[in-house]
């Protein structure tokens, strides 16, 4: 359980995090979504006591992180990949971190096994790929068998198999009743992983809602239609003041609900072979929410946020 109250972080004149309050509950995966520079990493560092809040408080399991007697058993964090001296092996790195809490070789072997790093455990980190670095970071996070996990962009640099592995792992950990808080700018990934989403933009929380609510959130209804006389149908619909995009020889997208399209097609006597509502994706919801909040807009015609992976 993570609880933030009125948390702010000011660097010079920049309000990186601006008076945010939220709760991350156990037993579910909570996603932390926002454009780059929105304040995700700063917030996570403040939870871990690495950055001092300018104002406000944040507690983990009822206490500030620094006050826990066994911090690694409370929170396991992956804040950046390959935050390891390149001259150490994966096993040595884990032994060094574990030693602070009396965690020894056996636990290190366990997390090496869990993260699939067994075969490279005694290789120096210097030669690790970004994906292997991420796995090592996750191994460090799991070391203390913590009740809360904080993962900053855990799928960054992972191959597709690794992405699925992280998704399964965080769902499994949440299923055990742990608190899982992970950030990502990969919105499609978030839609498949998180149960609850906190959207942040320019240091402020834009949405804090269950995934389902966010997906169904505000936004106009839209439909997709397939009709042999698509061009004709488009003209009819436009004549009724609807916005229509012809997406193929016989396909249209219409900014209107399916009933309106069906009624108009029937009245004009045009056969429609397929008609389906277009569900707003998390990406659409996210772009709608953050449209005014991204720090740097790219030029006309480009996506609102070029950093967003599609």
């Amino acid at each position: 359980m993570i609880e933030a109250h009125g948390l702010s972080k000011v660097y010079g004149t920049t309000r990186a995090v601006d008076d945010i309050s939220f709760t991350v509950r156990p037993g579910i995966v909570t996603g932390f979504l926002g454009p780059n520079g929105a304040g995700k990493s700063t917030t996570m560092r403040m939870i871990m006591g690495l950055d001092r809040p300018t104002s406000g408080t944040v507690t983990v399991n009822g206490k500030p992180y620094v006050e826990h007697r066994a911090p690694l058993t409370q929170v396991g964090a992956l804040l950046e990949a390959k935050a390891v001296h390149p001259g150490r092996t994966a096993r040595q790195h884990l032994r060094v971190v574990g030693a602070t809490h009396g965690l020894g070789a056996r636990r290190v072997d366990e997390v090496l096994e869990m993260t699939g790093l067994g075969p490279v455990a005694d290789k120096r980190v210097k030669g690790f790929s970004l994906g292997m670095g991420q796995r090592l970071g996750i191994a460090v996070a799991l070391l203390g068998d913590p009740s809360t996990l904080i993962l900053d962009e855990p799928v960054n640099g992972l191959d597709p198999e690794g992405v699925i592995w992280v998704r399964d792992l965080v769902r499994y950990l949440a299923g055990q009743g742990r608190t899982v808080f992970l950030s990502s700018h990969l919105m499609a990934e978030m839609a498949q992983t998180a149960d609850h989403v906190i959207v942040i933009g320019r240091g402020r929380i834009l949405a804090d809602a269950p995934m389902a609510t966010l997906l169904a959130g505000p936004g106009q209804e839209a439909s997709r239609a397939r009709a042999p006389r698509a061009t004709e149908l488009a003209a009819v619909l436009r004549s009724q003041g609807l916005t229509v995009t012809q997406t193929g020889a016989d396909t249209l997208e219409i900014v209107a609900g399916t009933p309106a399209v069906a009624e108009a097609a029937l009245a004009a006597g045009i056969a429609v072979h397929e008609l389906a509502p277009v569900r707003a994706s998390l990406e659409d919801a996210y772009l709608a929410l953050t449209a005014d909040e991204v720090e740097y807009h790219s030029g006309v015609g480009a996506p609102a946020n070029p950093e967003v992976a599609r």
Binding site: R45, M48, G49, L50, D51, R52, Y65, V66, H68, R69, A70, P71, L72, T73, V75, A77, L79, E80, K82, A83, V84, H85, P86, G87, R88, T89, Q92, R95, V96, V97, A99, T100, H101, G102, L103, V140, G144
Partner: protein, 281 residues
């Protein structure tokens, strides 16, 4: 201070922080890197090598019939410290700056969020490692000197004075190591910290000592390297300096001088702790 909370007696099986475990972690951190062995080896090599060269010089001087080298054996054995201290500076600086350059510091501070124990543990581990290395190195230097110079170098100083000069080398290096750790933690940058320390110990201190300008002469005896190396001066040298009438600047005794070095080291470490606790990681 936070260490007191960490020093509570621990149930051996329980998983939690103790100061002893932070020390164990720092020990493991230091010896899991090859660079540690390289720098320690280099420190030994430089001191022993210098002793061997002085031994060869003593033999050559004797062979040419010009008498003997005007240094005692124990002084010649610690002459290489001028150079071996640089390896110790590098080792001590790297124990903290390498954490910043790799990002490891955030993993370290997430595991030990009170922070202070991390620097204290590093200082403790460095002290132990440097002390043992320097004792071994001094013993090897005396051996090398005796082996190369034979009867041409004398170990003639009184026992207590010899002991002080011999023990002076490890003690001096410990002071330099802790000072370097503090400076490294304050600067957070490997090249900058090593350059600053080497420039200070090798260039600035020597320049201050050499230029006969009163303000510099007054400051010079209080600089860390100059003051600390008093511990390796002979009683006769110190007495001679003190006997000079109207000597500009203080003439520190052997242990007074070492006390000044320790004060520098403690000051640097305390400043580093305060900064580490207040700055964002």
């Amino acid at each position: 201070m936070s260490t007191t909370t960490l020093q509570r007696p621990a149930t051996p099986s329980a998983v939690h922080l103790t100061f002893g475990r932070v020390v164990a972690s720092e020990w493991r951190k230091l010896f899991s890197l090859r660079s540690t062995w390289w720098t320690l080896g280099l420190a030994v090599l430089l001191q022993v090598g210098m002793a061997a060269i002085l031994g060869a010089a003593a033999r050559a001087v004797a062979a040419s019939g010009q008498g003997t080298l005007p240094v005692d054996g124990v002084q010649a054995a610690s002459a290489g410290l001028q150079f071996s201290q640089l390896a110790i500076v590098a080792l001590a600086v790297l124990t903290i700056t390498a954490e910043y350059s790799s990002g490891q510091i955030r993993v370290t501070l997430a595991a030990v969020p009170r922070r202070t124990p991390v620097l204290l543990a590093k200082a403790l581990v460095l002290t132990g490692v440097v002390l043992v290395t320097a004792v071994v190195s001094s013993a090897l230097s005396v051996g090398a000197l005796a082996l190369v110079a034979g009867e041409h170098i004398s170990f003639a100083l009184p026992g207590a004075e010899s002991a002080r000069i011999l023990a002076g080398a490890p003690l001096y290096l410990v002071g330099i190591a802790v000072l370097s750790l503090g400076v490294g933690a304050l600067m957070r940058h490997t090249a900058g910290a090593i350059a600053a320390l080497m420039g200070f110990l090798l260039v600035i201190e020597n320049v201050f000592a050499a230029i006969p300008w009163k303000p510099l002469q007054i400051i010079s005896p209080w600089l860390p390297g100059t003051a600390g190396s008093r511990l390796m001066s002979t009683d006769a040298d110190i007495a001679a300096a003190q006997a000079v009438p109207h000597h500009v600047g203080a003439v520190l005794g052997a242990w007074q001088g070492y006390g000044v070095l320790v004060a520098w080291a403690v000051l640097a470490l305390v400043a580093a702790v305060l900064v580490l606790r207040s700055r964002d990681a």
